[in-house]
């Protein structure tokens, strides 16, 4: 910036020197800066040149880095989904081949030899499917879930065994938004089609040391911590902030600290163990309400009032079971597991005992530690244990080991809650019009049962017991201790044997495993409720076994299942394709965004060379002019004219 000359009256020699130097310096600096801009290609040499633009540049650079990462994530997801899509096409082709075999061999024209040879082809299809299921992509098992370093399928008891999990692999595909890019082998082959167990509806008891996050809350929305207001008598409401509490003990501690002096105390209602209670020793009416739009009091089930001397009794907080839930909290008074259970896979049976187990995780560890090809976990609702049969085409039965532990845990394979359609390897039962079974007790009293409306095992048991009572018989039905069959017990004291026969030519007695003669006191039904893994491998084993055993019924059923599974695979392919499409669309969008950001960044950051060169030339011209004028003015002096 040139010095302001203002209204000066004379120009001294040093002033000429000063202004000349100023001009030379300024022009030199200007030229140097332009030179720097041209050589660096950047518009800004310092953030102070234009703080606003500098901030924009920093933000855009951050944005670009983020977009680059998202692009890398999307490309990673895309490559995985593309690989999955390719594998799914192979699976689909193999299933088409299996379906063709089932279709061709289901008719009665094929000989046993022909079917046997086709069984070998099915074996090959199973092997091929296992290979695809264990496909590796970039050193990871493509369908391994989150267990990417363990083959998701292996041979267990001679059959395909599921080793993989259902874990999602997610990646950030947008700012603070993630998306799953994998599909687990269980989903691909529909091995997750069904689980056993989960039949006990636990009434999990509250525990002061349990996390508040385990509670569904009285409104079913969890516990949203905030402030509550407590009114005692006519005194103004006092607010209590419960934010930061981690357990019910923390809530109790804060509540008692705030209102203990007024005679109030918070505890777990001993009457049910599932609700909170405010013990009112204040001698006045009390009320608990929300503060503002809060929901804490309602979530805790305590948005209530009570008269003097009356306690506030909260609503059920619906605690979910977790790994750390103690067995003593599973039900009022706790549960005892003194006998253990039996686990049978195929022909192998193991006994699992729960001695020393104190938590649900101990129970799960015992079950999962059997190496029997089962996987036990807590269900999503947190109110039961579900059991997966990991071995395809192989029956699984969990029964009692002389006690009722399986029933207590809700994992007995044939339970009241089991759908009848699952029986007999998912063939179910086929009631006829009218009565289906005829039962004769040891005392000779006979009755018939109509099961045409029965949907579940419980319906069957109830129908038999109702008919028995109505007929004056002493027969009581239940599931047997083995875990997969029914049991009839006769308490009449009669001398005859319990006999079950088909009525109206109905196949149901046989389908329920009861078409037999028992003893005077009991009839143990055959196993009809074994649990089979759902999905492609079980269907293919069924087809293979049907072909090898020359069973048209089994081949037909297997063919039906394979046809259904083809639809499933097609649906999975559709999902994968849709996800891949969405990912590619995001890739395109992100690439566009990257390009737009780069353009914007370039506009802000990069120098306009034409402009810069022009400015450089201007600076150069100005410097030349300065040099010239300085040279001229410094040479002029009156002294030159003195003689």
């Amino acid at each position: 910036m040139a010095a302001s000359i203002g209204n000066i009256t004379r120009v001294s020699s040093s002033l000429k020197t000063f202004t000349s130097l100023q001009q030379l310096q300024q022009n030199a600096i200007r030229m140097f800066r332009e030179q720097e801009r041209i050589s660096s290609g950047r518009k800004l040499l310092s953030i102070s040149d234009d703080p606003v633009t500098a901030e924009k540049i920093t933000k855009l650079m951050q944005s670009l880095e983020g977009q680059d990462q998202i692009l890398a994530n999307l490309q990673h997801a895309d490559s995985n989904l593309t690989a999955a899509d390719s594998a799914l096409t192979e699976i689909s082709d193999l299933l088409i081949e299996a379906a063709r075999i089932a279709s061709e061999q289901a008719g009665s024209f094929s000989s046993a030899d022909e079917r046997a040879s086709q069984a070998e082809i099915v074996d090959g299809i199973i092997d091929a499917l296992m290979n695809v299921g264990n496909r590796s992509f970039r050193d990871n098992y493509l369908f391994g879930g989150q267990s990417v370093t363990t083959a998701p399928l292996s041979t267990v008891f001679g059959r395909a065994g599921l080793m993989g999990d259902y874990g999602e692999r997610r990646t950030v595909v947008d700012r603070n938004f993630t998306s799953s890019y994998n599909i687990a082998v269980g989903e691909v082959f529909q091995l997750d089609g069904d689980v056993s167990g989960g039949y006990a509806d636990w009434n999990v008891q509250l525990n002061l040391n349990g996390r508040l996050s385990e509670l569904n809350g009285a409104l079913g929305s969890g516990i949203r911590l905030g402030r509550i207001a407590v009114t005692i008598g006519a005194a103004p409401a006092v607010e209590l902030d419960l934010a930061g509490c981690g357990t019910l003990a923390d809530v109790k501690s804060k509540f008692d600290d705030a209102f203990g002096g007024s005679g109030l105390a918070l505890d777990i209602n001993p009457a049910d163990g599932a609700t909170l209670r405010v013990v009112n020793g204040s001698g006045s009416a009390i009320q608990i309400s929300e503060v503002g739009l809060g929901t804490t009091a309602a979530d805790l089930g305590l948005r209530k009032s009570a008269g003097a001397g009356v306690n506030i009794l909260g609503d059920d907080l619906n605690r979910r079971a977790t790994l750390t839930t103690k067995l003593s909290d599973l039900a009022p008074g706790g549960v005892a597991l003194p006998a253990g259970v039996t686990v049978t896979i195929g022909q192998v049976t193991k006994t699992v005992t729960f001695t020393g187990a104190t938590t649900l995780q101990d129970v799960l560890n015992r079950l999962n530690g059997t190496s029997m090809g089962i996987r036990a976990s807590i269900n999503a609702d947190g109110n039961g244990i579900e059991i997966e049969n990991l071995v395809a085409g192989t029956a699984m039965v969990i029964g009692e080991n002389g006690g009722t532990d399986a029933e207590t845990l809700g994992i007995k394979t044939l339970d009241r809650g089991v759908q009848l359609s699952r029986l007999n390897g998912s063939i179910g039962i086929h009631p006829v019009s009218g009565n289906d079974i005829r039962i004769t007790g040891a005392d000779g009293v006979a009755f018939e049962v109509d099961l045409s409306n029965a949907k579940t095992v419980g319906d069957v048991i109830d129908a038999i017991n109702t008919a028995s009572t109505a007929a004056g018989a002493s027969i009581a039905a239940s599931t047997n201790n083995g875990g997969a069959g029914f049991r009839l017990v006769d308490t009449s004291g009669g001398a005859g044997n319990i006999v079950v026969e088909a009525a109206n030519l109905s196949p149901v007695a046989a389908e329920l495993g009861l078409l037999k003669t028992g003893t005077p006191t009991a009839l143990e039904g055959d196993n009809v409720g074994q649990f089979y893994q759902a999905g492609i491998f079980s269907a293919l084993y069924r087809l293979r076994d049907g072909l090898a055993g020359d069973s048209s019924v089994e081949i037909t059923e297997a063919g039906r299942q394979i046809n259904e599974l083809q639809k499933h695979v097609a649906a999975v392919m559709g999902q994968v394709g849709a996800r891949a499409g969405a990912v590619r669309s995001r890739v395109d969008q992100t690439q566009d965004a990257v390009e737009a950001t780069q353009i914007l960044l370039s506009e802000l950051q990069d120098v306009d060379f034409t402009e810069a060169v022009t400015r450089f030339q201007q600076a150069q011209t100005a410097l030349q002019a300065s040099l010239l004028t300085t040279s001229q003015t410094m040479n002029l002096s009156l002294l030159n004219f003195l003689s």
Binding site: S4, A72, V172
Partner: protein, 567 residues
């Protein structure tokens, strides 16, 4: 008037114009002398005696040699010098801060942060991959080193600023002594001659100008020619005495040594309102402190936010034993007690310890932490006791130095999950970073030496990168530890802050330079030597001298004529 008297008139003229020529010659000689003030010879007619025809003059004499100076302008110039020096030094030091951060460079703190989060992003996609884990460690170490380097460079700058304060103050002290001495010389010189001691005054003006570049000063000229100089409201120079300036090093509230100027005679505080010292102090106490504070906040936020997530996750390998990085002063005090030695404080909540046996079975135990200030709060001792009592196969021990050690029985391994209390992060257990701010930020040596301990997962599965995903998100998520802004935004605002300060300082420098230049022009217009002017004066005085000489010849001839009458 007689002819003898007439000769006297010529003599006075010769003497006067000789003196005037000397003044002009001296001006010409000092045309390039910095701070030189042009002298003007004041010529006055010598009053003559009254005569019948009126008063006839007795010639001419140099009534005085006057400095062409405006003291008011000089005072304004000194203020301008102070302001310009202040702005210049502030700009220079802010420039150095920008250089330290190098925000427009290809590699800077922002890009290194982005690289770190990018490596986390890659790990999210390949959590089982050892090489990718190694890259996370590398990028984290590069980031950590850069943060520490920036702090180191800023501290070097701070030390340099202290040195600058000391050097500038020492120079100011020296100048004050010289000015006080000149006061004495000027007074002595002027009291003897009755005129101005121009060269001494010029020298003093120069020193005052230099002093005003260091401190804003107020100058009051006293009768006799001495000046009193004030810094702020305090007197620095009284006639021939300088009270002197010195620097002392004092610890500020943050425990950082700072050099501050003081008066020597009473150790009084020097209030520097402008000038180089004020610029240095402003750069140090405002801009430096601000940048260090922001760097510390950024580093602290990065450490805490990453660690709180990391501590609740699990790596590809579990621990057979681990010792906390942080220690408490008193293990019997609540963990969140203010004076218990933890930089980051835990809160009420809980965490899980998962113990895995050789068969792969896992037993999870919930450890509650109660820090609500009601009843008995969790201490390190109670935490250790709780873990030992409830976590089967793990023993927790409080070491003599206040750290917590967890050891698993043979054949067992343990890991941590879902810490809502932040206790693990606060104690430095299963953490990624160590340290509390930019001074001591580091990558946990356990993780650095074994990348498989990077807690990428929330589960026990190799392909689970969910914990890393949570970490990648903090770069763009508002964080409580950063006052609700994200790491990226905090960095951006730090650079924007620096840009605005630097831009402001540059503007102030340009404005003060413009004022300084303008005043310099005015001063030079008044006090500067113009060679042409002096040449004209030379000619004028030369001609006058020649005239006087001619006049004396005429008088001499007249005398000769008169004397010839006598013969």
């Amino acid at each position: 008037m007689g002819l003898t008297s007439a000769l006297g008139i010529g003599r006075t003229a010769l003497a006067a114009y000789q003196a005037a020529l000397q003044v002009a010659g001296n001006n010409i000689a000092n045309v390039g002398t910095p701070g030189y003030t042009r002298n003007i010879a004041d010529l006055s007619a010598i009053a003559g005696a009254n005569s019948r025809v009126g008063q006839l003059g007795n010639g001419v004499y140099v009534s005085g040699v006057r400095r062409s100076v405006s003291e008011a302008l000089n005072a304004r110039l000194r203020t301008a010098v102070s302001d310009q020096s202040s702005a210049q030094v502030e700009t220079g030091n802010l420039d150095r801060m920008e250089g330290i951060y190098n925000p427009l460079g290809n590699i800077n703190l922002g890009t290194l942060m982005a690289d770190f989060f990018k490596s986390l992003g890659d790990l999210q996609n390949n959590p089982e991959d050892y090489a990718t884990r190694g890259l996370v460690i590398n990028s984290a170490q590069t980031l950590v080193h850069r943060i520490r380097d920036i702090r180191g460079d800023l501290i070097d700058l701070h030390d340099d600023l202290n040195s600058q304060v000391e050097t500038a103050t020492a120079r100011a002290d020296e100048l004050a002594t010289q000015i006080a001495n000149l006061n004495v010389q000027i007074t002595t010189a002027e009291s003897g001659s009755g005129g101005q001691a121009s060269s001494l005054r010029d020298r003093r003006d120069q020193l005052l100008s230099e002093l005003s570049g260091l401190f804003e000063i107020t100058v009051r000229e006293q009768p006799g020619g001495a000046v009193n100089v004030y810094v702020g409201n305090e007197s620095l120079i009284q006639f021939g005495q300088s009270f002197g300036l010195k620097t002392v090093r004092e610890l500020d509230a943050n425990g950082i040594l700072k050099s501050v100027p003081r008066f020597k005679h009473n150790n009084g505080t020097v209030t520097a309102r402008s000038g180089e010292v004020e610029g240095i102090i402003n750069a140090r106490d405002t801009h430096f402190d601000n940048q260090i504070a922001r760097l510390d906040t950024l580093a602290s936020g990065l450490i805490w936010e990453i660690n709180t997530i990391h501590a609740g996750g699990t790596g590809l390998q579990k621990f057979s034993n681990i010792t906390s990085v942080e220690s408490v002063n008193d293990p019997s005090l609540a963990l969140n007690a203010a004076d218990n030695g933890l930089t980051f404080l835990p809160k009420t909540g809980s965490f899980f310890i998962d113990v895995k046996d050789s068969s792969g079975s896992v037993v999870r135990t919930q450890i509650n932490v109660d820090l609500d200030g009601i009843g008995t709060d969790t201490t390190l001792n109670s935490l250790a006791a709780d873990i030992t009592a409830n976590v089967s196969g793990v023993t927790a021990t409080v070491l003599a130095d206040g750290r917590l050690q967890l050891t698993a029985n043979a054949g067992l391994k343990f890991s941590f999950a879902d810490d809502t209390s932040n206790t693990l992060a606060a104690l430095g257990i299963n953490t990624f970073f160590t340290g509390s701010n930019s001074i001591d930020i580091g990558v946990n040596s356990l993780v650095a030496s074994n990348p498989n301990l990077i807690a990428a997962a929330k589960s026990d599965l190799a392909g689970d990168g969910s914990n890393i995903t949570a970490m990648t998100m903090i770069q763009d998520t508002g964080l409580a530890s950063l006052g609700g802004v994200s790491l990226n935004d905090f960095y951006t605002s730090t650079m924007a802050d620096l840009a605005v300060q630097l831009s402001g300082a540059k503007s102030a420098y340009e404005a003060s330079s413009a004022i300084f230049d303008s005043l310099t022009v005015q001063r030079e217009s008044i006090s500067g030597v113009n060679l042409d002017e002096e040449a004209v004066a030379l000619m004028q005085f030369q001609r006058a001298y020649e005239g006087a000489a001619r006049y004396m010849i005429v008088v001499d001839e007249m005398l000769q004529t008169l004397l010839s009458l006598v013969r």
